[in-house]
């Protein structure tokens, strides 16, 4: 365990302490204690920057289950450091914000901070481990923590709905991902990402390449809310706003992005990887931005906008994966896409974080997030309005904010895709920049709409539930202000991050592209001259403003008035159908009839046995070494069969009992013939007692009715029972002949040889029972005594006043 391991585990340890702090130090808001941890971790991770920016990596090994290839190896390179800084940095700001957002009198702070810390630790685990199984474990913990946080106000029905939805969708993806990881293990024999990347050629050549890729991508797409799995994210907005800002825009939803970026080294270069990710990203981008326009809830707009921005980053990673096809890092053609992805990842965390916090402030102060009720808040909440303006301008892609820079890079990346000249891009590649353009127009549109509807227009207090609206307390404003300042700072001086954070992350996404000692060229500028990107940005602004001016015209169309996502219907119907279907299945299957259960069980056993025999060409009845049949045994067996076969035809109680008794005594006789004297003795004894017991009990039972079974049922019963008997006969013969063929030495040799010497007994069976396997016999006695106790209590015991059942 190194310090780095403890850093990953520290949030979990802190989570254990939270309930105590909450209980015994009630006067201080629990958030203040929590705040220390992410801040300390953030500073700790900052100290790794010199290491990663010089192209080095940190790797600390810790064996967990080495025999299965599962090791808790903590690995820091540019990409994981970027994420670790995001998690702890945004985490610090969110905790600070939550101290003012959640009241210490009214809320269950202990639950909130335990879940939040659990998430933080798990997320650090995902981005810092090198082992796929460890990543999977932490990955699922983030899903659980996310669901718990969404359902934080668990008395609200919508919270529970959202929590369940996110749980089903992300855990479904997580399990697929586990299957994908297992396939990768089958191919390459390792769970270590570094070793997988080293064996990328082997994986690429395998026939399991495509299934493994699709399964892993299912995990990444569900987590990162990619189309059509994006539907859980808008419903996750039921969580307290600090959670939405943290998990559902800045960190957790980027876990899928992280995974795709991390595994680009394994899968990158394959046309399938390129197409699936680029297309999924672009569809998500356009679907998210169009849906965001339709939303009336501030957080709903932000949720769909997050979906669309995640799609943007995803499509960039898809486009950038082509670098592996060329194995050439010098060309800026495709490295622009990866640069844009990394840069936009950082920018999105800053502007979206500040926007969520601003939305939370508005909700907190006015009591609503509905843009139809809000308006004119500019003069009342000037600071919040400024923060929102900066965030929205950046998201819309306006200069001089950081969003402008990454949007330009995004457009460059998408335009250059058409120049790759691979994967049939020349034929349909032109669609890619067009989709990017249209999606950007809608992004611009919802940014204006959101600002206009909230801060401009007329302020109408009568639509709000609160009496007075005023600016938020300063504590709540600190975090969004810091983020807004970063938005401006990164916008004005983009190269602050260029070689410290962005370049190492790019090198980590595209390992092996550069030879050691080389660096990617990262130089982000505002002015590229009169390029296609510039005209596209101008076009976006013009079209966006046009759509906004004509807003009145399409305000009342069905498109704008509905806000439900089409895929929600699919989810809801699917969910209902699943429950109804399983109820229907249970009703059919669980009839409460013993007969039906026997039919199921016997049919299933027959099918399994039949298939096994067919599969292994059984039964092998030829060459059986059978023992001779003495004449007198024929008599015993004939009488035995006669008594057995009459039982089903009898309708008299006493006759059935006596016939059963006869067959039991004949079994004892058969044991004598088979030279098993002990068995014969026991059987005799037991059979006598059984018959007496039967007599006693059936003295109390009613006479047998003559039962009329419908002929159809009778046929089914006959087929099942005869088929089952036949299967047993065949099975018994196959087992016997296989035993003879294999000719193993019997394990009872040991008992035969040692029973006299070691146990001092001549009767081997007895010695086995009371000496060699004495403990088993003792437990058998226990079983019998339990049965006796039950019998006695069933007959004798009556509780006073209790119900006699």
């Amino acid at each position: 365990m190194t310090l780095l391991h403890w850093a990953v585990l520290s949030p979990f340890i802190a989570a254990i302490l939270i309930p105590f702090l909450y209980k015994y130090l009630k006067r201080i808001h629990t958030g203040w204690f929590v705040l220390i941890l992410p801040l300390a971790l953030f500073i700790y991770f900052l100290s790794f920057i010199p290491e990663t920016s010089s192209g080095n990596v940190v790797l600390n090994n810790l064996d967990w289950v080495p025999s299965l290839g599962i090791n808790f190896n903590v690995y820091i390179d540019g990409l994981s450091l970027l994420f670790a800084l995001l998690i702890t940095g945004i985490g610090t700001l969110v905790v600070l914000y939550s101290i003012y957002y959640l009241s210490k009198q009214k809320e269950k702070l202990n639950n909130f901070y335990v879940y939040l810390l659990m998430f933080m630790g798990a997320m650090l685990g995902v981005v810092l481990s090198d082992n796929l199984i460890v990543i999977y474990v932490f990955w699922e913990v983030t899903s659980i923590a996310s669901s718990l946080l969404i359902s934080y106000w668990y008395t609200r029905e919508k919270s529970i709905y959202g929590a369940q939805k996110s749980m089903y969708i992300t855990v479904f993806g997580g399990l697929s991902m586990l299957a994908g990881f297992s396939l990768l293990y089958v191919i390459a024999g390792t769970f270590s990402i570094r070793e997988l990347i080293a064996n990328a050629d082997l994986i690429m050549a395998s026939s399991l390449f495509i299934p493994a890729m699709i399964l892993v991508l299912l995990g990444a797409f569900t987590k990162s809310a990619q189309f059509p799995f994006h539907i859980w994210l808008p419903d996750a907005m039921e969580a307290p706003t600090p959670v939405s800002a943290y998990l559902h825009s800045a960190t957790m939803v980027k876990a899928g992005i992280y995974l795709v970026a991390r595994l680009t080294g394994v899968f990158g270069g394959a046309p399938e990887w390129f197409w699936i990710i680029t297309i999924a990203g672009l569809i998500t981008l356009i679907w998210g931005s169009i849906s965001a326009v339709r939303q009336k809830d501030l957080k709903g707009i932000l949720a769909y906008s997050t979906v669309s921005q995640l799609g943007l980053i995803m499509s960039l990673l898809g486009a950038g994966s082509a670098a592996f096809y060329f194995q050439d890092g010098d060309s800026p053609l495709y490295m622009t896409a990866i640069l844009a992805a990394v840069f936009h990842l950082i920018n999105h965390a800053t502007f979206k974080g500040s926007l969520f916090m601003a939305a939370g402030i508005i909700d907190h102060e006015t009591g609503t997030r509905d843009i139809r009720k809000l308006g004119g808040l500019m003069t009342i909440m000037p600071v919040t309005a400024t923060i929102s303006l900066i965030g929205l301008a950046s998201m819309a892609g306006l200069p001089p904010f950081n969003g402008f820079l990454s949007k330009e890079l995004f457009l460059t990346g998408m335009l250059s895709v058409t120049e790759y000249g691979i994967f049939n891009l020349e034929a349909i590649g032109f669609i890619i920049p067009i989709i990017a353009f249209i999606a950007s127009v809608f992004t611009f549109l919802y940014c204006i709409l959101m600002f206009y509807k909230t801060f401009m227009g007329k302020f109408d207090i009568s639509k709000l539930k609160v009496k007075h609206v005023h600016e938020a307390p300063i504590g709540m404003l600190i975090s969004p202000i810091i983020l807004a300042v970063l938005v401006v700072l990164f916008g004005l001086f983009p190269n602050l991050l260029a070689y410290s954070i962005i370049e190492p992350a790019m090198a980590a996404i595209a390992p092996g592209i550069l030879s050691p000692g080389e660096f990617f060229d990262v130089h982000i500028t505002h002015w590229h001259g009169f390029s296609a990107e510039l005209f596209m940005t101008l076009g976006i602004i013009v079209l966006g403003v046009l759509l906004f001016i004509t807003f009145r015209k399409w305000e009342n169309t069905a498109f704008y008035r509905g806000e439900q996502d089409l895929f929600n219907y699919a989810y809801d119907y699917g969910y209902d159908g699943l429950i109804k279907g399983s109820q229907w299945l249970t009703r059919i299957q669980m009839t409460g009839r013993l007969r039906d259960y026997f039919i199921y069980m016997c049919t299933f056993i027959m099918l399994i046995m039949g298939y096994t025999m067919y599969r292994y060409n059984l039964p092998l009845i030829q060459n059986l070494d059978l023992s001779p049949i003495p004449v007198y045994t024929w008599f015993v067996i004939l009488v035995f069969l006669g008594s057995i076969l009459t039982i089903p035809f009898l309708n008299n109680r006493i006759a059935i009992i006596i016939t059963t008794g006869v067959s039991g005594f004949l079994v004892a006789l058969l044991f004598v013939l088979f030279r098993a004297p002990d068995l014969a003795l026991t059987q005799l004894l037991i059979e006598t007692v059984s018959v007496v017991l039967f007599m006693l009990v059936f003295y109390h039972l009613p006479k047998l009715k003559k039962v009329k079974t419908p002929p159809k049922m009778k046929t089914i019963k006959l087929i099942i029972s005869i088929g089952f008997g036949l299967m047993i006969t065949l099975g018994s013969l196959s087992a016997f002949s296989m035993g003879q063929e294999a000719n193993y030495e019997s394990i009872s040799e040991y008992y035969t040889e040692n029973s006299k010497e070691k146990a001092g007994g001549y009767n081997i069976v007895n010695v086995i029972l009371v000496d060699f396997r004495g403990l088993d016999t003792m437990l058998e006695v226990l079983v019998v005594s339990l049965a006796v106790l039950t019998v006695v209590s069933l007959i004798r015991l009556r509780f006073k006043g209790g119900e006699d059942v």
């Binding site: 013993l594 039919i599 059978l626 023992s627 001779p628 049949i629 069969l641 057995i644 076969l645 039982i647 079994v667 013939l673 088979f674 030279r675 098993a676 002990d678 068995l679 026991t682 059987q683 037991i686 007692v689 059984s690 017991l693 009990v697 039972l701 009613p702 047998l704 009715k705 039962v707 019963k717 006959l718 099942i720 029972s721 005869i722 089952f724 008997g725 047993i728 006969t729 018994s732 013969l733 016997f736 035993g739 019997s746 009872s748 008992y751 035969t752 001549y762 009767n763 081997i764 069976v765 029972l769 396997r773 016999t777 058998e780 079983v783 019998v784 049965a787 019998v791 069933l794 007959i795």
Partner: protein, 112 residues
């Protein structure tokens, strides 16, 4: 002998399964008893029949029948007796309480 016994065991199983599917508690109790007979004979048959003397060392034979299945079956006989006894008493109590021995009438209500 083993072939013959396999067929006999198959018939025991058939009859027992047939009885299990009847509606009457008494027949079900008999069916469990028959099923255990079938299983015991199956275990003994598997190890080969009538090969060598009874597994008692004082007989001083060259070969003994396999004692291990015997030990297993001996245990099984006792346990199956316990099971049968329990089943019998339970059907007795069921009849006392519900006044019927028809499994069809003893089903739980459909709208559970």
């Amino acid at each position: 002998m083993e072939l013959l016994m396999s067929i006999v065991i198959g018939i025991i199983f058939s009859v027992s399964i047939y009885l299990f599917m009847s509606k009457n508690l008494l027949r079900v109790a008999v069916a469990t008893l028959l099923l255990s007979h079938g299983v015991h004979l199956l275990l003994v048959t598997m190890s080969g029949l009538q090969r060598g003397a009874s597994p008692i060392l004082s007989f001083d034979a060259e070969a003994y029948t396999d004692p291990l299945p015997h030990a297993l079956v001996l245990t099984a006989i006792v346990i199956s007796f316990a099971v049968t006894a329990l089943l019998l008493v339970m059907s007795y109590r069921t009849y006392k309480v519900h006044k019927t021995d028809d499994l069809e009438d003893l089903r739980g209500s459909a709208d559970e």
